[in-house]
């Protein structure tokens, strides 16, 4: 019996019964649970701590930073359906946030030679006012995790608590950015394999 359609298969363009679709059937739990991960984050029973609009805004931003048009359109359309004006603001931040990762620092020692500088994303006025302090902080944290996760430190979590995210919300937000880093790569990889 074929597995129900899922976001990874949809965005990778895998037709039911195609070669990569058949290969995915050998890892049915991974497919089902990756879809349940998507549902846990974007169709939550209770979006406590991080609103659905915030989740979709961060997701659209993260997909855009990964330069995957299909994923960016998918999350962007869901965002626009709930908050049309916001999706334009997110598009601006995607444009501002483009770079290449992973970069970041290392402690003094043998790895110091592998330090790689790169931008730390900041949102100034007037953009921050349009997004609001919570979303501005969430996008800055998302950019850190997407492009230079090894630079993350406890002070970055303090910025999120200062913006009003509690501990449960920080875990949800971190999972959301980290999950998308998996989902978009899986989509892109399967698309290449199917080509």
């Amino acid at each position: 019996m074929p597995l129900p359609p899922d976001v990874i298969g949809l965005l990778a363009g895998l037709r039911q019964g195609s070669a990569v679709d058949e290969i995915r059937a050998a890892r049915p739990v991974a497919r089902t649970e990756a879809q349940r991960s998507f549902q846990a984050l974007f169709e939550p029973a209770d979006p406590a701590g991080v609103s659905l609009v915030e989740r979709l805004a961060v997701a659209t931003f993260v997909a855009g930073l990964h330069a995957d048009p299909a994923s960016t359109l998918f999350y962007g359309a869901r965002l626009a359906a709930l908050a049309e004006g916001l999706s334009d603001l997110i598009a601006v931040q995607i444009g501002r946030g483009q770079t290449q990762g992973p970069y970041g620092g290392y402690p003094d020692g043998p790895l110091a030679a592998e330090r790689q500088d790169g931008p730390r994303f900041r949102i100034g006025e007037p953009d921050a006012a349009g997004l609001g302090p919570r979303l501005a902080a969430a996008l800055a944290h998302a950019h850190l995790l997407v492009f230079h996760p090894r630079d993350a430190g406890p002070e970055d979590l303090r910025k999120l608590t200062d913006a009003g995210f509690d501990a449960n919300a920080i875990v949800t937000l971190s999972q959301l950015v980290a999950f998308l880093s998996f989902q978009v790569r899986t989509i892109q990889g399967f698309r290449v394999l199917a080509a």
Binding site: S37, D68, Y106, L111, V171, F182
Partner: protein, 219 residues
């Protein structure tokens, strides 16, 4: 609200990649073992994880933790065809090396060394990074994991061709894609919610013949 941020534990960050068993300290308060709800306990999937600060911290968002863990298990443990477990662990190690997740790299380097019986090559990967020469099949696997780990991804037809030439079939390549992609998920959590510490900043000598497998802390 800020009370859930934990004070600096005072440990020394490791300065190199290693197969040693490193402690990982959270920066945000995990759920206390006694306070775990039934939903949170179920979300841990593996009962032994009630002793892990990392998993009790992730239990703050139980639905995504449970789905994450089950996704990872199938990608790494399902032995129906595809890439051998050793090489799925190699992909996890290479991805962690590229992102700079010293903790994740330590755990999965132990697994990779154990399942492959090639601890010397794993240590070369840890010490030299993804350009280490590990023989063409592993070089192709590591190069593909590195391309997948770039943001935006640089994985393309050239990587697939090289993997096929190295002897991987389509199922093995799909496993490599999912293994490397999954560690882009895992690394970001481990790197941003806490960090590894070591009380041994002195050079670490890595035994090449007796891999120590961490108990209860895979994935």
């Amino acid at each position: 609200m800020t009370s859930s941020l934990l004070p600096d534990g005072g440990g020394q960050s490791p300065v190199r990649f290693t197969r040693d068993d490193l402690p990982w300290l959270p920066w945000l308060e995990p759920v206390a073992e006694a306070d775990l709800t039934d939903v949170q306990k179920t979300a841990l999937v593996d009962k032994a994880r009630v002793r892990s600060d990392y998993f009790r911290l992730l239990a703050r968002a139980p639905a995504i933790l449970e789905a994450r863990t089950k996704t990872a298990r199938d990608i790494f443990h399902n032995d129906a065809g595809g890439l051998p477990r050793a090489e799925r662990e190699l992909a996890a190690t290479a991805t962690s090396r590229v992102n700079g997740c010293i903790y994740c790299a330590s755990v999965h380097a132990r697994f990779a060394a154990h399942y492959s019986r090639r601890p010397g090559d794993i240590d070369r990967l840890l010490a030299q990074g993804p350009d280490a020469d590990l023989g063409e099949r592993w070089n192709a696997l590591v190069a593909a994991a590195k391309a997948i780990t770039a943001t935006p991804s640089r994985f393309g037809a050239a990587e697939v061709t090289r993997l096929r030439k190295a002897g991987l079939d389509e199922g093995a390549i799909a496993d490599l894609i999912q293994s490397a992609a999954f560690f882009n998920w895992a690394n970001r959590l481990m790197l941003s919610l806490g960090g590894p510490v070591t009380s041994h900043p002195a050079p670490v000598s890595i035994p090449s013949d007796a891999p120590a497998i961490a108990s209860g802390r895979p994935l």
